[in-house]
Symmetry: D2
Subunit: 335 residues, 4 copies
């Protein structure tokens, strides 16, 4: 039997040919760490992309990207509001506790793993303004959310107003930021809204091992550079990371790859009807599927994760084959 | 004028062709994180190499490799003995303070940046056995040392006996471990002695962004795996890191590359006479050179770092051209 | 109008005369820190009280007592299960995050702020055994609970079996341990069950500023002594803290004081009928009382805290006047 | 034989009668934590004493007082310059590593355990302004120093100018601040100079368990209050700590007690001649005394600590008997 058709995750996909090419082109020696010519381009390239001044640093993982950004906002004795199913709470091995020196994650409910001003207010307004209770310092949202939902510009705007009003920082975990930006029409600026920092993911979208920490308050960049080194994330051949990111930005490859993945997800969704547990607004699908139905799909050589007892998760990627997405959509429709 | 002849450092050298090849070969999708087939080979390959059972994990930097290993030995309220010029003390941005949750580096003198049982005893014996004073939990040594010196098997043996006697852990920072192993005759086991853990460096020796944390008490590996994730060092496409390491081990490429670099260093040393501040036992040279002499060398297109006011440091690498090393040796001899 | 009748809390009550007496008797100089004769008695006195060997250390606050004990059980990358309304989660300013170096509090539901094996299993069983998810290392329960409930010996026994089965540590926050012990019949051993550690509170029960960290695995005491110093909790005139604790143990003053407070609570409860939100099993009462009713009570000079919009909390103490408790009970009955 | 004459330390002396009196007077219930009337007086009383606005918080130990103040100045990735024999480095069990989340103590030489701008510059000027090296954020000095030396106003002024010039915070560990203030003429303001924060010690000078964290940038007080709670140092009956401090300030008891101790030290010094290793500028004496000489003194019933092999340390206190100091001075002179 041939290899299964892969809808498990986008996190182990191959590296895009243009990324390989850029890495090879970076092979001649340059200054170590982030002193090379490629790393030096990042600030300007991201400032252009977002249409506002920012600083951008590479790091090898989304976990470190999130935590390094959050470290600029949350004091060790403070708290960080996030969704109760946020990746930083559920799937990063306690990294925020490490990087933030014991600061507290304050878990907030919200439909589709998205936060709203109302939800956050319900969580933090009862906190007494006294030293016995940890005070919120910042909010972290995920774009696209852990259920593949995208915050619209209007939703982001409401969150930003709320954050400013409460004097809270606002961070965006953008492990699948490209997929949301593609879904929302292609503007990085619109998909990021006015957040203070963004962990801009490239790895799930065709990179190898480089994400960008984007700091819209570029005065915080110096602190993050020190903390990146302190966390052991300052690679000495940083040019290979910068090369990956620049290749993804070049000609908007990041957007093209995300559009491809999103289109495949939409194709699958077209056959899913009311099995869908969440609107498909990026490249992830969550569907009600009984054990028997899941077995039937696996018998047809589709690979995917169970999601609890009566559902499944499917993820598409930059390299998903259109015909396999079509086949999956049909298979689901035929159940 | 042509590119300068590079003796600044080995930390920005290109990636070895065989490493590139192995990375490309790893491009097809596999399980994410360290669940892939290549990562699964590491324990066995390093156990073979050292002739004793061990666990081995990849991580992207030497700083994280050291700190992850040290975390198995030093409690937050404990201390770690290292040389006062050790890389972990001087050049890692305070990473041990972060990873060890505030444990104390206890700084020890020693010729050539090497530690001896006598030196360590002089440091720790006066520490009172009471709660006001931080107690030592472990020792970290660097092979090759920060001055390019190698611990001989006899020296290692004395340190191991001492560590056991005092119930201290013994860690080896092996950023240039290959160079010491090559200098000492080519046996990894002999160059590591009986240490409890080793940060085995590949990046300076032809890799891109992968070092190995080698734990000779493999029962500690589970803890390190959790802490690697918590530190944001568990890359989701880990197969590309495992591929680098396996390529370096394959056919003892790590040793061949180190021998090349060492030979170049020896060639340069041959012209240095009593300018040498330390015996050359790896791939670094520290030489007394006046500002005028350094200027003369730079005028001949040699690139290197000043070492204080009256000396310079030269580092060779796996890709140093033999003719350039010869030329440098001659140029120094002619000063 | 005279002073209000105080049912706000037991945490600001005066110091018991016998405690004062003991402190004064400790005034002549002795060895500093915990090297004095009184501190030296603690291990034996608590071992007698609990009928099993233990080590006991003084510390000035319940927060530090809890955190120092928990530090013996929970690794920085691990998790601690506690009730979602536990004092350590809600009211200690994030102290566990600090003392446990970023370990995670895993919040568990449970009636009356009490945990059950079933509730804990429901929380931790879904945790995947992989490095992305924080693993539980220990459980913390509160005796009496945050709603004034007491764990029975049978409930404790079930929790201990569960903890052993899952290889989890079991800690007891005993800020009001005396009140539970009194409620359960007067046996400290029965009220503590087989927990691994106990923060035995004396301050709310007539002390000034001394609680005991009781470690039933006395081999962990050395580590806790180092960490107490590291946290700045090793007072140099420790004899005054030991004196407080010994005075409370002497002639079972701790039990007499708790019985007094419990009796006052029972007296108040006798007039409360189905206003009671929780059975009264220690010295706290939570009652449904409308704003108007609360106003009426305050007009009669009773002081207490609101508990949300439609309830109030009353706390009795070692010095509560019987006639005031009676008056409060009648006033509530008359509403 | 009668009790030995105590010159071991001032840290276990009895509590001054006026402190006892004030504590007893605080016995009636008040608001818990630092919400009581006595705690509320501290800011004003210290502002008066120093002639400039400040905030003042009680805490039970000098270690916590130092660390809480330092936490306002030093980021976790930063460094703190202190003397290589500073109490915070040598005798606080690694507390700064804990409270500052792994920040680095940068050890500076200096005669008499005192720092100078020149000494600090020699330490920090070679630090490269790059992320590999920990950057200094603040300086901690000890008044009186670990060798009983006092910084003069001129010396303090030079340090303050230096600190401002380098944008470093300046903290004073004042475990024996009163003794320096007494030595320098009695002005608290002169003895503190323009430091940013002071750990004002009372325990060694007649208190029981209360020191003051004095913050001359009172805007940092809110942060310190949160961190005090987080460290488990917010006692619920805080009024007993405030009472101690206020009693010491009342009628300048702190100064009278210190003058008494200093006078006793001067009396002893008068017989010491060139045995003195350091000028006596507070209440500690370090003297060259052979083992035989120390034995002779102990045979005369004087208690004190050895200081290495050929010296001894004597400490006087608020309760040192004048005749015993005289006797010791004579005994030394007669050796």
């Amino acid at each position: 039997m041939s290899d299964p058709m892969p809808f498990l995750s986008d996190n182990a996909a191959p590296v895009h040919p243009k990324v390989w090419e850029a890495m090879r082109a970076a092979d001649s020696a340059d200054n170590p760490y982030d002193g090379d010519a490629l790393s030096a381009e990042l600030d300007a390239r991201f400032s252009d992309l977002f249409g506002r001044e920012c600083a951008a640093l590479w790091t090898a993982t989304g976990t470190s990207a999130n935590c390094l950004a959050l470290g600029t906002m949350v004091q060790p004795h403070g708290g960080l509001v996030c969704h109760e199913e946020a990746h930083i709470e559920v799937d990063e091995g306690g990294a925020p506790g490490f990087y933030l020196h014991g600061a507290k994650l304050m878990l907030c409910a919200g439909e589709g793993a998205k936060l709203t001003p109302q939800g956050i207010a319900a969580l933090i307004d009862p906190i007494r303004d006294d030293v016995h209770q940890v005070q919120a310092y910042a909010i972290s949202i995920t774009q696209a959310s852990e259920y593949g939902r995208s915050y619209t510009p209007a939703e982001l705007s409401a969150l930003i107003d709320f954050a400013k009003d409460r004097k809270l920082g606002l961070h965006m975990d953008g492990a699948r930021f490209a997929n949301s930006a593609a879904f929302l029409g292609g503007s990085a600026a619109a998909a990021a809204g006015g957040v203070d920092s963004l962990a801009f993911g490239f790895i799930k979208n065709g990179g190898m091992g480089a994400e960008a920490v984007v700091l819209f308050d570029s005065e915080r960049a110096a602190e993050v550079r020190y903390r990146r080194k302190r966390a052991g994330h300052l690679q000495c051949k940083g040019r290979y990371l910068a090369a990956q990111i620049l290749a993804m930005l070049e000609g908007d490859l990041w957007l093209a790859n995300a559009r491809h993945a999103n289109a495949a997800a939409a194709e699958i969704a077209s056959g899913a009807g009311d099995r869908l547990m969440h609107p498909v607004e990026a490249n992830e699908l969550f569907m009600r599927l009984s054990p028997t139905e899941r077995e039937a799909l696996r018998a047809q050589n589709f690979a995917f994760y169970d999601w609890g007892d009566d559902a499944a998760r499917f993820v598409t990627a930059w390299d998903t084959r259109a015909e396999e997405a079509t086949a999956l959509g049909k298979a689901i429709a035929s159940l």
